[in-house]
Symmetry: C2
Subunit: 340 residues, 2 copies
């Protein structure tokens, strides 16, 4: 394999100068820089990042920790982060926690401590003080997506406000019999996201003077399949059926739509459905939603990290609220008189 030594030889320069020329750091005359570049490209030289990292301490690699790669939100974040990192010349090391709690433990107590990443992006994961401390002790900045992280930067959306906005959209159309599909307790552990959205829903309902019926708050696991099952139960009793469903995620809204179709309910005539996310399928199904631009959040996380890192600065913890947008499609409408 050709190393920097070969390049130096060919260019008639020292290894040190070639290193500086190629990295762009330090003073190098234009002539030398050009010669180094030419020699490198003639030899097809590609820097060994191990050696570079060992010597410099910078790895050009960012760790991305996600709870799952299947759910829409996470894969959208991965996509956004991945593209931004690729553009910046950074590698992306993916840690998919999955269902296994042991995996989470080894990711935070082993993998991430191997000094292989310059920074960590944690998606929808509430890190413990100890976990954050460890990473900070190693000078590894952290950006959290999806919730507040003590002492770390975060990118998030205002879940409570969004839930109120969504609920108000339905209320504004004239719905009063509104059900809510929230997340299971298991999903409330990390950032209490389902709880926050649910509270937002309840507040909006109370503000409008609409009763919140406990039996119309059902929970699922944030997947289409899970919400499908939950919605079937919710919609089973024809005489006492909500006229609208607000689901805490688009995937759960989609599950609801599928369940509604099974009962022959037309959307939005017999049932209005809305979600939160901006899922790609929303278009096909005409789903009204609040788009949270997950891809953009992933890209923003990368920019947040890389700015200070490339300048050699320390990342100041900051809390960035990502904008969201109500997208009205055909799954919500004024309730038909008959359904009241």
């Amino acid at each position: 394999m050709t190393g920097i030594k070969d390049v130096a030889e060919r260019a008639g320069l020292s290894v040190a100068t070639v290193s500086r020329a190629l990295s762009g750091k330090g003073n190098v005359s234009p002539t030398s820089r050009e010669r180094a570049r030419a020699a490198a490209s003639e030899l097809g030289f590609v820097l060994s990042y191990h050696a570079s990292s060992l010597a410099s301490g910078r790895t050009h690699n960012v760790g991305l920790v996600v709870p799952s790669v299947h759910r829409w939100f996470f894969s959208a974040v991965i996509e956004g982060a991945s593209a931004a990192l690729l553009e910046a010349g950074y590698d992306l090391t993916l840690y998919n926690i999955g269902e296994n709690p042991e995996h989470r433990h080894s990711v935070f107590n082993d993998f991430l401590l191997r000094k292989r990443v310059d920074a960590v992006i944690a998606v929808s994961l509430e890190l413990s003080e100890a976990e954050i401390q460890q990473l900070h002790a190693m000078h590894r900045p952290i950006v959290g997506i999806g919730g507040p992280l003590p002492g770390a930067s975060t990118i998030r959306i205002d879940d409570s406000a969004i839930a109120r906005k969504a609920t108000n959209h339905l209320l504004g159309l004239g719905h009063t019999k509104i059900a809510h599909i929230t997340g299971n307790e298991a999903y409330d552990q990390d950032f209490h996201l389902p709880g926050t959205r649910r509270s937002g829903f309840e507040e909006a309902m109370n503000d409008a003077g609409c009763p919140v019926r406990p039996e119309w708050i059902v929970s699922a696991d944030f997947t289409i399949e899970g919400a499908y099952a939950a919605a079937r139960q919710l919609l089973a009793s024809a005489p006492d059926r909500p006229s609208a469903v607000f689901a805490a995620s688009d995937e759960m809204a989609i599950g609801t739509i599928l369940a509604a179709r099974d009962f022959g309910l037309r959307i939005p005539d017999d049932l209005s459905v809305m979600g939160i996310d901006g899922h790609d399928l929303g278009n096909v199904l005409g789903l009204t939603t609040i788009d949270q631009d997950a891809k953009g959040q992933g890209a923003l996380a990368v920019r947040t990290l890389l700015g200070p890192i490339t300048k050699g600065l320390v990342l100041e913890p900051a809390d960035t609220e990502h904008p969201t947008q109500l997208v009205v499609r055909s799954s919500t409408a004024v309730p038909k008189a008959g359904t009241f």
Copy 2:
């Protein structure tokens, strides 16, 4: 940060012995091994993988290259590979090519050559001779998923046989008016997967003496959305409508089901639909499919690579066919007499 030196000091051993003790390679007395382990864990020592890689040449990191992270098949492969790698103590570096052709170029001509990965898993990507050569020159074994890779190991399914099996399932039920949703040309570049499945479909039809109607072969981009649009066109002309649709992927089958519902077609009464994949949504929608266990393919790819690597052997190129399974659910049935 504590290094191996600190551990050696604390354990009263040399750095060399500690290294051997912790890595498990070479002869170390049980006493020394235990002392090294104790000292390491007391100090919370975690190996620096950069230094380790630089010295040993092994990186404990595998590169996974995918065309997209959104499509079901790819995220399932990622999930399977990710879990298997985590178990083995390996990092997973994800390269998501995406839509941008430049990204593909830089991944293969820059990122993967940085000597940061021990091996490469390429999913549904047909590598050029040059790309394979480069990686082989660096002694980086490659495993391809989804198609033959000259000189590399591959894991794949028999697309032609599967397509015939699927078609035969529909023919066996009595369908003769069968449409096929195939992939766009853009998706035929890499492993000609859409083309192969389409040929299988046509062969089975011919063998059964059923005419293949060109206007009943439509193409989409492998997404639910794309197939939805294509299926709408296909199903629009009521008088001349197929009684069954075989889609080249589950996502496209799902798009077809959604489109059918828009036309008020009941499944399977008015239209039988089947796909290929084993998509999670298949259960909810009652989709008949051929399960190809994408997660298992990802895990198998990892095992295929890691076996030889950990033993220090060279990976012998081998072509492994992954088993598939016909899963009959409620989206396919005997055609109703009226629809003939």
